[in-house]
Structure formats: structure tokens, C-alpha cells
Amino acid sequence: MVGMDNNMFRKLGNIFRYMKLEKEKSKNKKIDISLNIDTKIPKDINNIEIELKKIFVDSFDFILRKITIGDDFKREVIITYIDGMINEEIINNDVLERFLEFDYNKDNDEWTREEDIIQFIKKEIITASDIREVKDFKKTIESILSGDTLMYVNGADSALVISARDWKERSISEPVTESVIRGPREGFVENLKTNTAMLRRKIKNPKLKFETLTLGVETDTDICICYIKGIADENIISDLKYRLSCIKSDSILESGYIEQFIEDAPFSPFQTIGVSERPDKVAGKLLEGRIAIICDGTPFVLTLPYLFVETLQSSEDYYSRILYASFNRMLRFISFIITTMLPALYIALINFHTKVIPVRLLLSIMDSHEGIPFDPFWEAIFMSLLFELLREAGIRMPQPIGQAISIVGALVIGESVVAAGLASEIMIIIIALTAITSFIVPALSESLPFIRIILMIGANILGFMGIVIMLAIIMLHLSSLRSFGVPYLSPFSPFRKERIEDTLIRAPLWSMFKSSKLSSWKYSNNYSDDKNYIEKED
């Protein structure tokens, strides 16, 4: 049964990918429905005004200012922007004021000629630094929407984009999800440009490339692919670009959207794309040859390829001293084992392999189990469910209430469950241990409950043997997983000597950085499961 559904995951994944392609085909037809506009800018300024007002009807934040300038020869100019997205000071000082102060009589020639007017304004009048000329009317609309100020001039065939974007944003602060004791205190913010600047400050190298593209038919979200040319594998980059180009979603609101569209195994409990909020961590990954995807509007940056060992790594490992860092790595590995296997091992010991427990320990276990009406399996399921409920309840609540919930959960429920004889003390200890250790490997928090339950099921069916069989299934799944062509269990299996030094222990930096750290991830061409396809020999 399990075999079927595991295989089914794979099939599902294939079908899902296929459907993405299908969707892409169907999307192509309705792609222009949202902005059904002429691409040419109308010559007549009045037409422009009508057109713009039509597009931005019922949008109170849309500002359109029509002014007439010039001393002798008057020209009409429209300045539009979205309120709250621009720096009005720049517009006032460098655009409007310049228009008023300019001496139009001095060089009347160009001012009157229609073909040169845009050039003239650009060169002579406006002092704002970032100006672009756009001929496509649709593009001007897009620019307005993304915070630029647009200037249309009567009679000109192009418009000026004045980039004076400025909106209220969160200042750089310490990331909440990945706090460290030692290390930089800055985290990514919602603004794409701030984020790329943070990375650029860390890696001052022209080889660090930022390629941008926009995704999302309705939202037009800016996406940035960062990598270091020469270190990152070209195949992975092109594969990534291909996968990104397949996304034809209406909206991209967070990097999680992208992640779900491009990941290798959508139905696997294990993530194949990494997420980080820390610039130093992302910079480190870039230097290891990985690729980062920054999405505008979210501080969470995706890194890929993502391997299993990375769940055990933390950026702090590289800042603290060797022994302590290695100790922490081992601790995390042990916690991973405890948090996934402890309830299953306990069930197997109690129900099947009682003989493994030493006599005196058995006496105290028996003592706590006497009078509990439930099977240890259901007891464990019930208690883990309780823990997951409390966790979820605590996260969504405001901080003070969240604390209250954890007190209620830990003290009241835990205590009274034992007192009521619904669960044994030892089971409470086991689940508490699992919970604590699961906080040590936060990167795996999404996959842990699944592994835990699968192993518990195995343990309830055939004790240790059931655990081994379930583990084998998980291991097979992990071994077959690939993240952008790189085997998911990479440094362990297939075994790679030069990378094993940064896994369960962390070797000294001077030995690691010599060569291997900068070597790229080799892309393997056959990343799909078609590997076992047999061709007839001709």
C-alpha cells in the first residue's frame, strides 16, 4: 500500500509538472485581458489624459497633474504618479520647479520642435538623476504602477519615466526566524533593491550577477536571480530560468509561491529549496556555488540547490570556534534522530521488545503505565497532536496570549492528563523531548511530523523491524530526491570526500576554504526519474 502511494507521489509530481505546461499554453490566450491598451502613445495630450483616466478610474491614489509651461510657446505636460510611492520632493525640486524657472526664450528652437522635445527636456530642464525614455504606452502604465513618475509631453511620441520611487518601508532589523548569538544583526527587508545592495556589500565582486525578471500576470512582481558567475553551475542556472519561465501564475505574493512552482518534488515532505532571511547566510551559499532568488515584497530569499545537510547547518557554525561548532552540528544531528525516532522507538520497546529494557527501568515504566487505558501508540499520537495544536495556537496569537497558551498547555493540560490517567508520565517526557529537539532543527520543522508519524506507524506494526522498513522507505525516497540535479543526500551518498568535512562536523575554515568550498555543484543531466528507462540497443 505504502509502495503504491510513494510511487504515486512521483507520478503526481510528473502530472503536476505536465499540468503546469498545459496551463502555460492556456494562459497565453488571455494574457492581455488585463491591460488592453494601445502600445502607441497618442500624440494628443488630451487623448492621453482620457486614456489614463479610463485606466485608473476609481483609484483615488492616482495623481494626474496637467500643467502648461513655456513663455511664448506653450506646451502641455502631464505628470502622473501613484500617491505614496514617490518622493514628492524630487518631483517638486527637480522637475516642477525647473520647468517654472527655465528660460524658454534662450533656445526657442528646440522647445518648439516636436521631434526633439523629449531630448531637450531630458537634457536641459530636468535635473532628476534617473530618467528613462519610453515609447510604449503600456510600459508607461506599468511604470506608473511600480512607483515611477511619468511625464507625457504634448506632441511627443515618447514619455519620460522619472524614477523617484520612495515609499515607507521597514528598516533593516534583526531577522526573527534565524536569530544568532554571534553574527551580523541585519536581515533582509521587503525591498528588492535594499536586499541586493546588502548582498553586494558582502561580495564586492563584479562576478556577482543580479538578473531580474517579472513574474505574475496580475501582480508583476520583480524577481532577482543572484549567482556568482564562474562558481555557480551554468546548467543549474539555465534549468532554473527554464523553470521560472514556465510559471504563468496570476500572482506572486511571496517567495513561497515561486518555491512551490519550481521545486523538484512538490509532494515530498522534504523541502528541496532553502529559505533564509540572513544576508550573510545567503552570501555564504552564493559563494558555495548556489543560486539565490530574491522576490520583491518579502524578506525570505530562496537558495538552491538545497541539500539535506543544510538543514543541520547554521551560519553561526562558521563564526564560532571549531570544536564548539562541530559539537553543535552533532547535537543537531542527534536531535534530528531523537525528534523523529524517539516516540517510535518507545512504542516498539513497550509493545514488542520489552526484553531490551533493563529490569529496574522496566519497573518504573510499568509503574507509570499501570492503569492507562490506551495503547501506547494512540497515547503517543494523541500527545503529539496535542503538542502540534498548542504550537499552532501559540504562533498565531499575539505574544502575551501565546505565552498564556503555552502555560495552559504545558502546566495545566500536561499535569491533568497524567492525573486523569489518560497518559503516562514517561509518554509526556518522550513527547516533551521530541518537541524540544524539534526546535533544534527548525529547518526540518515542516517534514518532522510526517516522518515521526510514519515511523510510529511502522513501530506499531512490527516493532523495530517496522521502523527499519519505514526508515528504508524514507531513505529510498531521500536517495532518489534531487534538487536541481544535485542528489539530495549528496555529501553522504553519493559519497563526496571533499564535502564531507562540512557535515556532521565542521572542519577548520582554513582547510575547507582551500579549494572545495568554492567548487561548484555539478549538475547532473538526468535529474528526473527517467534514469531507469531502458532503451533498446540497435
Binding site: 500500500m1 505504502v2 509502495g3 510513494n6 510511487n7 514488542f352 521488545h353 526484553k355 531490551v356 533493563p358 506494526i461 512490527l462 516493532g463 523495530f464 523491524m465 517496522g466 527499519v468 522498513i469 528504508a472 522507505i473 531513505m475 529510498l476 525516497h477 536517495s479 532518489s480 542528489p487 543526500l489 553522504f492 551518498s493 553519493p494 559519497f495 538526468n526 526519474d529 534514469k531 531507469n532 528507462y533 531502458i534 532503451e535 533498446k536 540497443e537
Partner: protein, 362 residues
Amino acid sequence: MLKNIEISNKELIILMAGFIIGDSIIVNIARAVKQDAWISIIISWVFAYVLIGMYVYIAKLNPNKTLIEILIDIFGKYIGRILSVLYLWYFLHLSSLIFRSYSEYISIVVFPETPRIFITAFSSVALVIGLKYGLETIARTSMIAFIIPPISIIIILLRSFKHMDITNIQPVLEYGMNPILKTSFGLLTFPFGEAILFLMIFTFVNKKEKILKSSFISITFVGVLLIIISLMNIMVLGPEMINRNYFNLHRTSTVVPGAIIDPFITVSQLVLAAIQIWICIYSLLIGITQLFNLNDYKPFVIPIVIISVSLSNWLYNNVAEMFRIAQEIYPYYAIPFQFIIPIIILIISLIKQKGNSKSTST
């Protein structure tokens, strides 16, 4: 030909070592010679180098060909196909023998109430998934899982160190050399000679020139491990108990008081049995696709596993019969598959190669 499947030489070492150790970790085939078991293991170990060296040489003489292709190549279309079918039967039979022996161990020692068929069926879920994923995934998984058996052996060794009595290996050669040689021959056919299956696997190894080295590394590893286990059992249990007990290693672990270590044996036995069955059935599937010129083996995975499991169920009546047949009949049954046909293949391909080199030189 199979496209793109590649396993590294390290994975070959692991697969071969796991495959050869297999159920000899719990079943002591040399128990008939009591305290001299370790001598017969050493003798067969030495001959195993020659035998497996021969298999590797055959693979070298017929590069990029599996056993089935070699057979058809050497013996012609008809005889070659008949021999191939015989070999495929041998692979199937072997896989069901392994199914039987480990499930028998588990149903006798660990879960006496559970029906054996349930144990095999439940474990074959993982086996089927592995086969569907293919050889690369199997090799990678084995690479990680293979840490367990040596560690378990070391743990048992340390735990039982206090209970060892070195005089138990005396008197050496009590019954003379004859029974020892006979047992060695049995050991050469099981487990060492079973490496004939790797003629199906060698083509997938990425560094073909290092196959011999890798094979010898794994034989060395297997030999050392088997001798350690054998000596440990003899020293702890003494010759009489070795002869009487089906599962020596398990018995050794029950002698030790205090913390109980037999789950380690069960787990490592499962790992090794899984490697064995994977290799057997994978070879069988590849053989089927090549013999019948098919595109894909995946549709055959579930039927073949079901056949193998059901075959394992009616091979023997009980465990006593299983051990008797494994000790007395199996060696003779394996002779043609492990010795006669390979030697003929070797001779013919040597002659062919000579002919080729002559024709190219003239």
C-alpha cells in the same frame, strides 16, 4: 542497453560486501565442523579471490555486456537463451531463498506469533519501492544503511568480550581436513560464489578498470567480518552449542547479561537481506528485459517480487529442512552456475580474443 545508470566503485564495494555477507551473518553454514569453522572460512576466503577474480576477468573480456548478453554471445542464440533462462531461474530461486532465511530468522527469534508471510509481505513493500527507483537509489541507500552491520558486530564483540574462552577453539583439526574442505566448498558456493550475480551489475560501474580492486576490497572486508563473527561465536558458545543452534550470533547475544543487543542483529540482518534481494531481483529484471528485448523493467517489479515471495513460502517445509538443504544440496546445485558455465565462458572468450588479436595483427 541501459541508459545512464551509473554506480560508483565505492557503491560497488558496499553492494558486493553486503550481498556476500548477507544472511551468513546469522546463519553459520560452517557449523558442522564445530570449532574449526574459522579454518574453513579462511580456506574458502582464499579461493573466493580466485573465483571472483575469474568473474571480473570474464567481465573484462566482454566489456559492457551483462551475463545474459555474454551467454547469448558465446553460446549462440539457442543454447545461450536456454542457459540465460536457467540463470534467471537461479536468480529467482536465490532471492526466494534469502526471503525465506531472513523471514525464518525473524519469525523464530523476534516475532514468534506473527505469520511469516506477513513479515515478508511487509518488508517487500520497501523492496518494491527500491526496485522501482532503480539501481542508483538502491546503491545510495545501501551506502548509508551499510554502516549498521559492522557497528552492530563491534557492539556485540565488545559486549561479549568478557564471556569469551579462547580454549574453545581447541582441539584444532579434531576431525581432520576432509570435513573442513567439504565445508569450505559449501562456503565457496554460499556465500562467495553468489557473486556471479555481479556479472549483471559490473556494466553499470563507472570506473571499469577498478572493478577488480573494488571486488577484492569487498571480499577482504567480508572475510574479516565473517572470521570475526565465527571466532566470536566459537569462543563464547563452544563447539557443541554452535553445532546445535540455528542462529549462532543470536545465541551469543543472549548469553550476555544486562543490556540486550539482539535488536542490532535483527536490524543489520534486515539491511543485508535487503541488499541481497535487491541485487538478485534487479539482476533478474535486467535479465528479463535483455532476454526478451523489452524497454522497461518496471512493470515486472511487483509480479516478480510476488512470485519470489510465494516461492519462498513453499520451498521448504520447515527451518530444519532449510538448513539441511542449504548445507547438503545447495553446493551441488550451485556448481554449474558458479563454476562450470563461467569457466566455459572464460575459455571461449579467451579463444575468441586470441582469434581477434590474430586477425587484427595479420
